[in-house]
Amino acid sequence: MNDMRIVERTVSTDTAKMTARRAQVYYGDNHALKDVDVDILDKTVTAFIGPSGCGKSTFLRCLNRMNDTVASARVMGEIKLDGEDIYDKRVDPVVLRAKIGMVFQKPNPFPKSIYENVAYGPRIHGLARGKAELDAIVETSLKKAALWNEVKDRLDAPGTGLSGGQQQRLCIARAIATSPEVLLMDEPCSALDPIATAQVEELIDELRSQFSVVIVTHSMQQAARVSQRTAFFHLGHLVEYGETGQIFTNPKDPRTESYITGRIG
């Protein structure tokens, strides 16, 4: 398998789903994210790469206002979803997060059964009428997350009893069960074996037909395989953002080049 194979770069649309302009994040006095401008395109997979601690997760959490739950975090600048400022006072973060799903860096299944974990979102948003529909949502979500075959006989077992990689796929299933418009994935494959990784990457590619996907990854190969757009972060700055093929074959910034060739990070 040629790992650096570049997937076809056709981007279905060029409309921006989310736009960030001069986005800043402070944790107390720590300026963690500086002047980030990004357009996340509709029906596209965008990869965020960069060394540890450069602010990838921080920026991801800005996109669905999860930083609101961190007391010390302050977000400035402008972030829009479909042309609407998501930090506007009139926007309800709860509604926003239902539209922008998230898979966290560390798997965090609820201490409930596998079924209840996946059914959680559909239940609180009233997406299913009746038990049969809910069952169907749970089943398709688990199938998409490549977990169905492993858990179909023990849907009542606690989700916390699964292995780390299975838990992460459960969290993916949980996130796609609410059918969000944008899916944010923070290192979804860091605990997965190659087979499950390939399945999740397949899922990401499949999801692209319905949503925008943003994926944070430390694997250059993965970024090259699954994404159409890549953003490289370094020390809180967005260094370079562009078409994945261009970033990996012909980076403009010397820092990007040394990172992808393994000299920094």
């Binding site: 509604v95 965090n108 609180i124």
Partner: protein, 486 residues
């Protein structure tokens, strides 16, 4: 030598052993500590522990055995007619002990030596008067045989004390010598200290377990006594509680258990919802500053002695309920009622529930909440569906603790609910609980061996069984519904 002095000497020996042991270990490798198996101080500790621990153990055992030895030895010298005169050997022995102590005081005041004490005679030297001068009042003149026994008691106890000093110090020296001899660079002193530490910890937990077992054993023993004087069938199945001063009492358990349950139930109905909601507010909604002020304030409530709550029940809540609720509704005209005690006890329990639950809710990992928020859940949905289920075992524990306090509470019941045992559904009537009756039966002036007094132990055992059952029940509930996070 007194116990304190012996302990001090043993500790001094241990300290000395520490330095000598450390010294020997170091000098055995010519000061190069790297050649030793363990750090030098561990060798010191191994000697110190071998010096102090066996010696202290010997002393503790000796102190436990000494009184029994003394009693049997002295009791055998007392003539049978003296025992018959006071009716009971333990009464005679109590006199002997008091006189023996008194003799010490008399000797100290009059500057008598051993020979002088020996010369004291019951019939000549107005012993009763002299003993009274030093604060030992006796009911009758000192009998010659008793005085002899007291003298015997003194000498024997002195020699036992001396024996103890010798044995304990010998044990310390032998232990120190043994440990000191063993020191060599290869001795695994570090592991030795580790094992000693573990043994110490095990010992401490054993003490806790043994105490519990002892308490239960004494309860069971006295209860068994009670059931020999009073039929168990009546205790468990009679519905009246009516102790009589001169026998023929009805000692039915149910009115008291009913009162306990009723009062506890009302107090939990007050305390659990309020306490839980306060905890949820504090841990999930309140700003850190709000939390920092509100939590200590709530905990002050927990520090108020229950008798103060009792006053509050007696003076304020009771009359208020009578005049505004019970009276107008025609439910009764007593100011002490189950409702009064239950309400006030509930207020007392709020901080128990809230403070513990707050800690437990805070221990639920933030990642759980993030997961829920990330799916678009609101704060209250997150609390209801994720946080509370994850915290449930701890919350049940907190409620259980509150329930045990409610069941064991006495003061508020006496002052709020009265002392009349009855079976009634009306919450505005006076009732009483098991604990209140335990106190009143034990402090009554009936003699100790009567069923009216011994029933207190049966009641205590019942209470113990109830709380035990509650604990087991809670454990089962928690096992069944627990949603465990890592």
């Amino acid at each position: 030598m007194s116990v304190g002095l012996i302990s001090l000497i043993v500790l001094g020996l241990a300290a000395l052993g520490f330095f000598l042991g450390r010294q020997k270990a170091l000098s055995s490798v010519k000061g190069d500590a790297r050649l030793l198996h363990s750090l030098p101080s561990y060798y010191g500790w191994s000697v110190a522990l071998f010096t102090a621990v066996p010696a202290m153990l010997v002393m503790i055992v000796w102190l436990f055995v000494q009184p029994t030895l003394l009693e049997t030895q002295v009791a055998s010298t007392i003539p049978a007619e003296n025992i018959a005169a006071s009716g009971n050997i333990s009464l005679v022995m109590a006199d002997v002990r008091r006189i023996a102590d008194g003799l010490d005081l008399v000797a100290a005041r009059a500057g008598l030596d051993e020979a002088g004490i020996d010369a004291l005679r019951a019939d000549f030297s107005d012993l009763r008067g002299r003993l009274a001068e030093v604060g030992v009042a006796l009911g009758a003149n000192v009998d010659g045989a008793i005085l002899a026994a007291a003298k015997e008691y003194r000498t024997y106890s002195n020699s036992l004390r001396l024996g103890m000093s010798v044995v304990v110090l010998l044990a310390a020296l032998i232990g120190a010598g043994f440990a000191w001899m063993r020191i060599s660079p290869d001795l695994r002193a570090r592991n030795l200290v580790e094992q000693f530490t573990m043994a110490l910890l095990i010992g401490c937990s054993l003490i806790a377990v043994a105490t519990t077992a002892g308490i239960i054993a004494s309860l069971v023993f006295e209860t068994w006594h009670f059931f020999q004087l009073y039929p168990a069938k009546d205790f468990f199945f009679s519905l009246t509680w009516n102790p009589q001063f001169r026998g023929g009492s009805d000692l039915g358990l149910w009115p008291l258990v009913w009162g306990t349950m009723y009062v506890s139930f009302i107090s939990l109905v007050v305390a659990v919802p309020i306490g839980l909601m306060a905890a949820i507010y504090l841990s999930e909604y309140a700003s850190p500053r709000m939390r920092a002020t509100a939590k200590p304030l709530l905990e002050i409530l927990a520090g108020i002695p229950s008798i103060v709550y009792g006053l509050f029940a007696l003076v304020t809540v009771g009359p208020l309920l009578r005049d505004w609720i019970a009276g107008p509704l025609g439910l009764g005209n007593s100011s002490s009622s189950v409702m009064t005690a239950g309400l006030v006890m509930g207020i007392m329990l709020i901080p128990y529930v809230s403070s513990l639950s707050d800690d437990i809710i805070n221990a639920v990992p933030q990642a759980m909440r993030d997961g829920s928020f990330g799916l678009g859940a609101t704060q209250s949905e997150t609390v209801k569906r994720v946080v509370i289920p994850a915290a449930l075992p701890g919350i049940v524990g907190a409620i259980l603790l509150a329930a045990s306090r409610a069941i064991g509470e006495t003061m508020i019941v006496v002052m709020g609910a009265g002392a009349a045992a009855q079976l009634s559904l009306n919450p505005f009537e006076a009732m009483t609980t098991v604990t209140v009756k335990i106190v009143s039966q034990l402090t009554g002036d009936t003699e100790f061996a009567s069923p009216e007094t011994l029933v207190a132990f049966a009641l205590g055992l019942t209470l113990f069984c109830i709380t035990l059952a509650l604990n087991v029940l809670a454990l089962v509930i928690v096992r069944k519904y627990r949603e465990q996070y890592e």
